[in-house]
Symmetry: C2
Subunit: 140 residues, 2 copies
DNA sequence: GCTAACATTAACGTCAAGGTCAATCCCAGA
DNA sequence: TCTGGGATTGACCTTGACGTTAATGTTAGC
């Protein structure tokens, strides 16, 4: 966890995001890098991890940036609850319910994905079959 | 496979899409319902299935409509290859490669999703723990 | 034959997620 | 010190995926 700082161009190269996108995420309060006196944005490894999480949520889950913001905040809230050990039962139950919903949502996506995957596997198998039969015909 | 026809409002209700969205998909050539003489759109069960596939691809995979169009066309091409049994080896190999790529892409998404899911499960477990400890404290 | 509830196209509006451009500022190296 | 390559903000532009409205046609029941 070296406390090195990255400038936006480096972050762009490391993450594959454009500088514009990175700044945009900041506009939406998804990230909040430090600033140098010159007002340059300074990103830590922690910021980078957060950005990677954003990318992952976006690409795999197809979440909108607004949804991602919610997820990140939910996560953060829970982290503070866990670290302080402070939680009124009602609030805690609330968060647990939200997390269960997220999990359910993810499970649904997974099963849809698996179903789609099987369809393609099926197609592939049938094409394989066709190719094999064609091969036989040629060697007859 | 009854050859009943549905009008757009029925399709809307059955699929949960708005009529506007359904027409928009037609603009993009994702679907091509028949027309009555009055120019009303007439949807078959087959059209409905296609629409359901579009929805599924959109929601689970987060595909753009352009990507969905590609996937549907790929599927259709392969179907005709399979039904006619006609396929030059090169073309066949080509399609098989494309399908493998789709499968790979899907697998990647699935594992990302599962990873995210586990994170949430983890949080949930820790919250459960916290709650149990709090419970004990109250009954002490 | 009228009317209400459907349908059509065409055109413009909107929102998210950035792209692009301009004007200005900062910094590192010759 | 000057110069080129990055950084900043602000403003407007674009694309995808629809929403909305207007003007008009169709159909089913009374």
């Amino acid at each position: 966890m070296s406390d090195k700082f990255y400038k936006i161009e480096e972050v762009s190269k490391m993450t594959g995001l454009t500088k514009r996108a990175i700044r945009y995420y900041e506009d939406l309060n998804l990230i909040a890098p430090q600033r140098a006196e010159s007002a340059y944005r300074l990103y830590t490894d922690e910021d980078l991890e957060k950005i990677q999480r954003i990318i992952s949520l976006k690409e795999s889950l197809g979440f909108s940036l607004a949804e991602i913001k919610n997820a990140l905040e939910l996560d953060k809230d829970v982290q503070t609850i866990l670290s302080t050990g402070t939680a009124e039962a009602a609030i805690l139950g609330n968060y647990m319910e939200m997390i269960r919903e997220q999990i359910k949502l993810i499970d649904e996506k997974v099963s849809k994905l698996l179903a789609t995957g099987e369809q393609f596997e099926n197609l592939l198998a049938r094409l394989n079959n066709l190719r094999d039969r064609a091969g036989k015909e040629n060697t007859r």
